[in-house]
């Protein structure tokens, strides 16, 4: 038999790691080369902590994801910041809660939080996601009280139902206000739902789409750099 288990394996694989997606192959930069960063000139660091959107799922080169583009923008603006890509495909808020300490081992000046999309796609209660995100924020605050924080907002597709969709959408501004964070209202603004800017799965942006994502974030983040 077969491939019954293969079905099973593929199943949970595709879900765990595509949480934001449904294809099995993937691509991701996690906090790429922490070592490299540590070795380079003493600059300030920005940790983008997120899921497949941050990791650049499905892109030929993970540096085409929006954190990579932000880095180019920062470099061309000659700002002394290095971005650590802390994206992991399929990451949920609960997973992020478990993973944050691993990444907080390195010093952080700006913390960008991009999580929740996978929770939304799995229909996890908004309250639960909110608590997990709050815990992550609290941990960052506890370790690096001086770090500036940015919240990247997310929405779920309308087919999830109006109530859930609006609760989910409102959670991000609420958390941002409560924790005094800069807010990008909707990371996928201008990209979500636009066929041409998304990969075949319809949810992960293409390289072109990621440029727009980077702009969305840049508009907010450039003010605090």
């Amino acid at each position: 038999m077969l491939n019954k288990f293969q079905v099973v394996a593929a199943l949970f694989l595709s879900i765990t790691f595509a949480g934001c997606g449904s294809k099995t192959t993937s691509n991701d930069t996690q906090a790429t080369d922490t070592a490299k960063i540590a070795a380079s000139k003493p600059t300030k660091s920005i940790l983008v902590f997120g899921d497949s959107l941050t990791a650049g799922y499905g892109l030929d080169d993970p540096s085409e994801a929006y954190p990579g583009i932000l880095q180019t923008k920062i470099d061309s603006a000659k700002l002394p910041y290095t971005i650590i890509n802390g994206g992991l495909s399929g990451e949920t808020s609960a997973g992020g809660k478990g993973r944050i300490n691993w990444l907080l081992k390195q010093h952080i000046d700006i913390f960008v939080l991009e999580l929740g999309a996978n929770d939304g796609l799995r229909g996890i209660p908004v309250k639960e996601t909110e608590q997990n995100l709050q815990t992550i924020i609290d941990r960052v605050k506890a370790k690096y009280p001086k770090a500036k924080m940015v919240m990247l907002g997310m929405q779920v597709p309308p087919n999830m139902g109006a109530t859930y969709a609006s609760d989910f959408k409102n959670m991000f501004p609420k958390l941002a206000t409560k924790n005094n964070m800069a807010l990008v209202p909707f990371l996928l603004q201008g990209v979500g739902g636009v066929r041409a800017l998304n990969q075949k799965d319809g949810i992960h942006p293409t390289a072109a789409g990621d440029k727009i994502l980077a702009n969305n974030v840049w508009e907010v983040i450039k003010g605090i750099l």
Partner: protein, 855 residues
């Protein structure tokens, strides 16, 4: 013959065909009873073949239509966006009946309990499913729900929220009445079906739910049914390019079968094997009958030669006769076979969990008759060509029955013809020449082994028999090598039959082992994932508390491959001679760590190391295909990026993963002692016995661990399990049936040796041999023949089944010796019993009577 009176015979006379026919008929008249025995052997051989073929065709059709429930239609086309106009036009024209479905995840509200839950909404329009049914309670709901604002809800989900039929369910802005509980649905074997429980609604209300707007993620599926025998595979392949361009893909029953389970391929291979063995059984039945028949005819032929019949005429007379016998036997065999195939399923109806349709397969009948004829002629040719060498003198030298064919060049031609016949038949069954050649060589080898064994037996018994032995023992052994012995022919036919029967049996055992492995009661059918390290113990505890087994609990860490022997992705891209797949670097590896191998893994190279030594390079185990992809071998160095931390590892072992077993399998396995602190999630596999348990378990998990996601494979596995179960039964049934027919062929081929021993037994009796003595002598002869051939046959079967398991079915091999020993005893016993039955006539009647009737 110079001075003989026959000199005036015109040896150059033309062959008078009518006369030849007349002679063929006349000759057959002499002893119709005996002829009947020979024909019966052909009848059984061909009967077996036709019955097995017919059953096989029917069963194959049955399983195929069962398999159609995997998608519920002949063809399905789906994509995650609305089809463009061009595609829509195509979709409107395809097939004879079409249905469409929109599916998407959504949070629905059970209004009574005010619970929301993520479900997979399927909005359906049309008569889908065309194969199988939406099995619901109440039954009619599966069809009637399309008529109004009704919904069908997955059984477990109903139980979980304590919902009842007639409750309402809010999907988007619309409220539907739950009209039925969904138990089973065709086409639910896909991955997407498992993520969330299913809710069916009629498509006409979809727009009103307000869930389909810009940004919605909707899956569009189209189902087609074709009335006539369209080649769906071909059609679908033709559409592929167009569909691919539009971002759609297709599924056919065939492709679904391939992707879903290896059992389908195993089944069709097994049925081919059964067909092939049926043919060989037919060959054994027919060939041994014909062979003995011709040998008995030597005296008549010699007499005819004395009367002036030319060698070529004698040859033709018997060729005509054999063709006639072959035809009669084959037609009768086809009738018998069809009869068996018609009656058997009906008789066994109550015992079989499958319905086998009893349609008459004309293809099988035609094949049976033609094959019977061809086999008769082909196998008669060998003794027949020796007819040409029977001189009139043979009338006088009757005692010497060896008409040497050793120097006849035509013999080789016949051998080649037989080989060609078997090879081309094997090709028809298997579909490739290499395999066919392999099979033929195998059969030839088996044949040779048996012949050599028989020859050795003759040689050794001759040396072995000592005058000090008792009379009975000496006679019994002497029968094995004396002139007119039947050692070779019986050893070959009993041995080959045993080999076939035993091979089928062994392969069947292995296949059944595989199928039960996949459908067995304790297979995981529920997966919990995204369990956080801190929750691990509690989730496992909760599972056990509910009385459910924790079948597997594994940590999963995500990492990427950074370097292979110092080469990065950029190096691999630049230098293709490295033969490292670029994608290997882009892939996110789901890796686990543990200190031992699992049952489904086997180390094929290097040494497994379960513990990492602090400060040293980490020994990891790579799966075979992964190692090939990165072109690495044992000892090669890999650097993994574990979410920012570089880990220097080397491949300490290469594993082969047996995907047939249900367990979590990994490309890369780390030893314990390094990844314990890395960010990880845990996956837990369990088996829930039924929907009620599933519902309460899910409820408990969701309540305590809201972040944990659950996949209930119950609905998916239902359809598959049922199908696999049926395949298991089909395999058992077909092999049982073939084994029984094999035994009948074996009986009939031993039975035809009846007249061989009669003369001698009668002579012995006339000379004063007691019944007891004759009985003992016969029993001894058949016992040695039976035991030795069965043993040789079994040895051949073990060899052949090992080869089949290894190369045709690709499965691990194991022999259960107990049933094999049983086969040995049964066949030996059968041979002795039939041998004794053969001489029963001699024993019970006065010698004179027998001498008169069997002149």
């Amino acid at each position: 013959m110079f001075n003989a009176p026959m000199d005036n015979v015109n040896f150059k006379r033309k062959i008078n065909i009518a006369w030849l026919f007349k002679m063929a008929l006349r000759d057959s008249r002499r002893n119709r009873g005996r002829l009947l025995l020979f024909i019966s052997s052909i009848v059984f051989g061909i009967g077996a073949l036709v019955a097995i073929y017919s059953l096989r065709y029917n069963i194959q059709n049955d399983i195929n239509s069962q398999a159609a429930t995997l998608i519920g239609a002949d063809l399905s086309i789906s994509g995650n966006k609305e089809p463009d106009d061009k595609l829509q036009n195509l979709l409107n024209k395809l097939g004879d009946d079409r249905s469409q479905e929109r599916s998407f995840p959504s949070m629905v509200l059970f209004t009574k309990s005010q619970n929301t839950r993520l479900v997979n909404v399927k909005a359906l329009q049309g008569n889908f499913p065309y194969y199988g049914e939406l099995e619901t309670a109440p039954v009619q709901a599966g069809k009637s729900f399309k008529k109004g604002k009704y919904a069908l809800v997955d059984k477990t989900l109903m139980l979980q929220f304590n919902a009842k039929v007639n409750d309402s369910l809010k999907v988007g802005n619309e409220t539907f009445m739950i009209t039925g509980v969904l138990n089973k649905a065709p086409g639910q074997t896909g991955i997407a079906a498992g993520i969330a429980p299913i809710v069916y609604i009629p498509m006409q209300y979809l727009d009103k739910t307000g869930l389909i707007t810009t940004g919605s993620r909707i899956n569009y599926s189209y189902y087609f049914k074709f009335n006539n025998n369209t080649n769906i595979e071909k059609l679908a392949k033709g559409l592929d390019a167009q569909l691919d361009k539009a971002g759609f893909n297709y599924d056919t029953v065939e492709s679904k079968k391939e992707g879903t389970s290896r059992s389908f391929a195993d089944l069709s291979r097994f049925l081919s094997l059964v067909g092939f063995i049926a043919l060989l059984l037919g060959c054994v039945g027919v060939a041994s009958a014909i062979n003995i028949y011709i040998r008995e005819k030597i005296r008549s032929i010699a007499i005819m030669r004395c009367m002036g019949v030319k060698a070529s005429e004698a040859f033709l007379i018997y060729l005509i006769q054999i063709t006639g016998i072959g035809l009669i036997g084959s037609v009768a065999g086809a009738l018998l076979g069809t009869g068996i195939q018609q009656v058997l399923p009906m008789v066994l109806k109550d015992f079989l969990p499958i319905t086998i349709s009893a349609g008459i397969s004309w293809l099988a009948i035609g094949q049976g008759v033609i094959l019977g004829l061809v086999i008769s002629i082909l196998f008669a040719l060998l003794p027949l060509i020796s007819i040409r060498n029977i001189s009139p003198l043979n009338t006088l030298r009757l005692s010497v029955d060896d008409i040497s064919t050793a120097r006849d060049p035509f013999r080789w031609l016949v051998y080649i013809l037989v080989l060609l016949f078997i090879t081309s038949f094997a090709y028809l069954q298997i579909g490739n020449w290499a395999g066919a050649a392999f099979f033929t060589i195998g059969i030839a080898l088996a044949f040779m082994i048996l012949t050599v064994t028989a020859w050795l037996l003759i040689r050794f018994t001759r040396l072995l028999v000592m005058s000090s032995w008792s009379y009975i023992w000496r006679q019994g052994f002497a029968n094995l090598y004396r002139p007119n012995n039947q050692t070779i022919i019986l050893t070959v036919s009993i041995g080959l039959s045993t080999a076939f029967i035993c091979t089928l049996f062994l392969i069947q055992q292995l296949l059944i082992g595989q199928v039960t492995l996949s459908t067995g009661g304790n297979q995981s059918n529920m997966i919990l994932f995204d369990i956080q390290p801190a929750q691990k113990k509690a989730v496992a505890g909760l599972t056990r508390e509910q009385g459910l087994p924790v079948l597997s609990e594994v940590p999963i860490i995500t990492m990427r491959l950074e370097k292979v022997n110092g080469k990065t992705a950029a190096d691999a891209k630049k230098d293709s001679t490295l033969r490292i797949s670029e994608r290997a670097y882009a892939y996110e590896y789901r890796v686990t760590y543990r200190d031992s191998l699992t049952a489904s893994e086997q180390v094929t190279g290097g040494k497994w190391e379960g513990k990492a030594k602090p400060g040293k390079e980490i020994p990891v185990s790579a799966e075979e295909r992964f190692a090939t992809r990165i072109n690495a071998k044992v000892g090669d160095k890999l650097v993994f990026n574990v979410q920012g931390v570089m880990m220097q590892t080397y491949i300490s072992s290469i594993r082969k993963v047996n995907w047939n077993k249900v367990s979590t399998n990994f490309q890369v396995v780390f030893p314990t002692g390094v990844l314990e602190d890395a960010p990880q999630i845990h996956v837990l596999l369990t088996h829930v016995p039924n929907n009620t348990v599933s519902a309460s378990y899910q409820q408990a998990v969701v309540k305590k661990f809201p972040n944990v996601s659950i996949i209930d494979l119950g609905l998916i596995l239902n359809v598959l399990d049922e199908l696999l179960g049926k395949i298991g039964y089909v395999i058992k049934f077909m092999s049982g049936f073939s084994i029984i027919t094999g035994i009948i062929v074996l009986i009939s081929s031993v039975r035809i040796s009846k007249y061989q021993r009669i003369q001698e037994s009668v002579l012995l009796r006339t000379l004063g041999g007691s019944r007891k003595q004759i009985f003992a002598i016969t029993a001894l002869e058949y016992f040695f023949l039976g035991a030795l051939s069965a043993l040789t046959g079994i040895v051949i079967a073990i060899g052949s089944s090992w080869l089949l398991a290894r190369y045709t079915f690709n499965m691990p091999y194991a022999v259960n010796f107990l049933p094999v020993a049983a086969i040995f005893f049964i066949i030996t016993l059968l041979t002795v019993i039939i041998g004794l039955l053969n001489s029963r006539g001699v024993l019970n009647k006065p010698p004179l009577e027998i001498l008169r009737s069997n002149s």
